[in-house]
């Protein structure tokens, strides 16, 4: 009997990286590999890295070293944004077999197949294709992402991503729609529209909103969620799209700071006022619309007053979750050269303040949702309890008799578990 080669994956960073790993899992599975858990010894280990902050670099390095030590006889393939940012350094490490940049990430299956069949080539000789990934069939999740865009031209002063993900490029709308059709045919009930800066989608004049509109019109019992979005990436009518029953009323809209001065220094393309007007416009149309966000604390020059503006903004906008990043100096960015760098101690204090407000907001939002109905996509059933997410992207747990996962159930929300990481409780309707 032929023994299948094994492949393991480790993924760091953003939702886009997670999607690209899922697609590689599918590709290796289709090519006859046996996919094992990330910590298991394997013939091939693929590490999909992140480099957005210094902490991401450390985690990526640790993961590479750990995986290489465990798989001394196996192939170690390092890809992702760290592979772009530190290509030469990584190529100089003997423990790493291949370093594959983002352009060629989708070709890793061919690269590894070639290695085992004696057709060894340098990854740089392979054709790049940002959208050449397999349609996800065998996912580690119940929801799947569809990549519509890659790269970013915004050049925010703190961000290294334009240097590692490259210029903004959009996938043709026809390919996006084909991809959504295929993942729905494969049984996925939730499709997450993803990319690096999806609001900048532009396919020969077709905008981000145009592509979302077309995805929503595709037949099938599925819902659409939009991943992280920049506030300048849509028109004032965007909220109207959310009246469509397939579009989940949740946006992760990146604030970064509530201070107008800091937003300018970050070279963000909106003002705090504009952001708040956007939130208000959505909530006027859909009062329980769920906003989550990213915030950077300790950006160079951020004063106590600037920080207080961010705190006030978070309270007023009622974000149900705030992902807080401590400012991280990235070589080559404008913010790295800025004076008035903020100390680590101050950043830690500010980060803690926001963490607590985020928790308060989350509890308040969950409380406000009690008594309402949610259409929950069941991800897991254990001990007669189902868990999954409602359309507002709140985790919900409820009792079921049917142990089947990946199906929708209509649930009435009855309460919240008393914990730091609360889950909403509900009953089947």
């Amino acid at each position: 009997m032929k023994v299948l080669k094994t492949v393991a994956f480790k993924t760091l960073g953003c939702r886009l990286n997670q999607f690209e790993t899922d697609a590689l899992v599918t590709g290796f599975h289709n090519a006859g590999y046996h996919v094992v858990e990330g910590d298991e010894k394997a013939d091939v280990t693929v590490i999909n890295t992140c480099t957005v902050t210094n902490q991401s670099d450390q985690k990526s390095r640790h993961t590479i070293n750990h995986a290489a030590a465990k798989n001394r006889d196996g192939l170690v393939v390092v890809t992702g944004c760290m592979a772009d940012n530190y290509k030469e350094k990584l190529e100089g490490q003997e423990q790493i077999t291949y370093v594959v940049d983002n352009d060629r990430k989708s070709q890793i299956v061919e690269l590894v197949n070639g290695h085992f069949t004696g057709e060894i080539i340098h990854p740089d000789k392979m054709m790049g294709d940002r959208f050449g990934f397999d349609t996800v069939q065998k996912s580690l999740h119940t929801r799947t992402s569809v990549k519509i865009q890659d790269g970013c031209d915004n050049f925010c002063t703190f961000c290294i991503i334009p240097s590692v993900r490259g210029r903004a490029v959009s996938r043709p709308v026809k390919d996006v729609l084909d991809n959504v059709r295929r993942v729905v045919d494969n049984g996925f009930k939730e499709v997450v529209i993803t990319g690096v800066n999806i609001g900048r989608y532009d396919d020969e004049g077709l905008t981000f909103e145009n592509v979302v509109e077309q995805v929503l019109e595709l037949p099938g019992d599925f819902r659409v969620r939009i991943s992280s979005l920049e506030p300048d990436g849509f028109s004032e009518d965007f909220h109207q799209l959310f009246s469509h029953p397939k579009l989940a009323p949740h946006l992760h809209l990146c604030l970064q700071s509530g201070s107008g001065e800091i937003l300018l220094k970050m070279r963000r393309m909106y003002s705090a006022n504009y952001f708040m007007e956007t939130v208000e416009r959505f909530r006027k149309a859909i009062p329980d619309f769920n906003f989550t966000t990213d915030v950077i604390v300790g950006f160079p020059g951020e004063t106590d007053d600037d920080f207080q503006k961010t705190v006030d903004f978070i309270r007023e906008a009622k974000f149900s979750h705030v992902h807080t990043f401590r400012f991280s100096r990235r070589t080559g960015t404008r913010a790295d050269r800025m004076k008035e760098q903020v100390s680590g101690k101050v950043m830690a204090e500010r980060s803690e303040v926001i963490r607590k407000i985020s928790e308060e907001n989350r509890h308040a939002y969950m409380h406000s949702m009690q008594g309402k109905e949610q259409r929950v996509l069941i991800e897991k059933v254990a001990g007669g309890m189902a868990s999954g997410y409602g359309e507002h992207y709140m985790p919900v747990a409820f009792a079921v008799e049917d142990p089947t996962t990946n199906r929708f159930e209509q649930v009435r929300l009855t309460g919240t578990t008393p914990s730091a990481d609360p889950v909403m409780q509900g009953t089947l309707i």
Binding site: D103, G128, R130, F131, S163, G166, V169, E261, K265, R334
Partner: protein
């Protein structure tokens, strides 16, 4: 499929000093397409150091120009000052969205507000669309920073000087805006240091401009 553009064949054609601390670097275009308002990442070949500079020239020109102010403890502005015709540059881009939607429409009044070398994208725009109905308010310290003033129609360029008394207005841009002398425009574009933009935006909002009439590009 794509990496950041870094075409090696950009060569220096000229360095033209417009005053003691500012110069216009002209180099071969290498087939680059760009829109007025966009910027480049620019450095000397092989230095590994790049800085962002808005394009000063029009897309109609065969060469590209950028307006560079020497930074005392800067690296790239000093290196670029010393380049010679024929030297190769490292150029990445073009990037950005500033002014890219500003193509003049009939009857539309544009107000451009710049501090220092923040005038560069407006120069590119005005050289491309001389027929545009614009007013350019330029905040500078001394009148010798009124770079290439003769390139603009006399009644459209307006210098606010914070030092000396040779400007069209003696004081900062924000003082001028607060004076209420400037007629209302349909769209306002601001480019320069973040403090000026932040303060000017507050004033303009108080004067009734909506956020969708205001556009910014920050220089540091």
């Amino acid at each position: 499929m794509h990496t950041i553009t870094d075409v090696d064949k950009y060569t220096v054609e000229d360095v033209r000093h417009v005053n003691d601390s500012t110069y216009v670097l002209q180099f071969s275009r290498g087939g680059m397409e760009f829109k007025p308002g966009q910027h480049l990442n620019l450095g000397t070949k092989g230095s590994g150091q790049h800085r962002e500079y808005s394009i000063y020239s029009s897309p109609d020109n065969s060469s590209i120009e950028v307006l560079i102010k020497l930074v005392d403890d800067g690296v790239v502005s000093q290196q670029l000052r010393n380049v010679q015709p024929g030297d190769e540059l490292s150029v990445k881009g073009p990037y950005g969205f500033f002014l890219t939607d500003a193509k003049p429409k009939k009857g539309e009044k544009l107000l451009f507000i710049a501090s220092g070398t923040g005038i560069a994208p407006f120069h590119s725009f005005i050289m491309s669309y001389p027929e545009a109905d614009y007013r350019l308010i330029h905040g500078i310290r001394n009148i010798n920073e009124a770079y290439d003033r003769e390139h603009y129609k006399a009644d459209r360029y307006f210098a606010c000087t914070s030092r000396g008394n040779k400007g069209d207005f003696n004081g900062r841009i924000t003082d001028y805006l607060l004076s209420g002398q400037e007629k209302k425009a349909d769209k306002v574009y601001l480019c320069g240091n973040s403090s000026m933009i932040y303060d000017a935006m507050d004033i303009l909002r108080a004067q009734g401009y909506r956020h969708d009439q205001l556009f910014t590009e920050v220089y540091f």
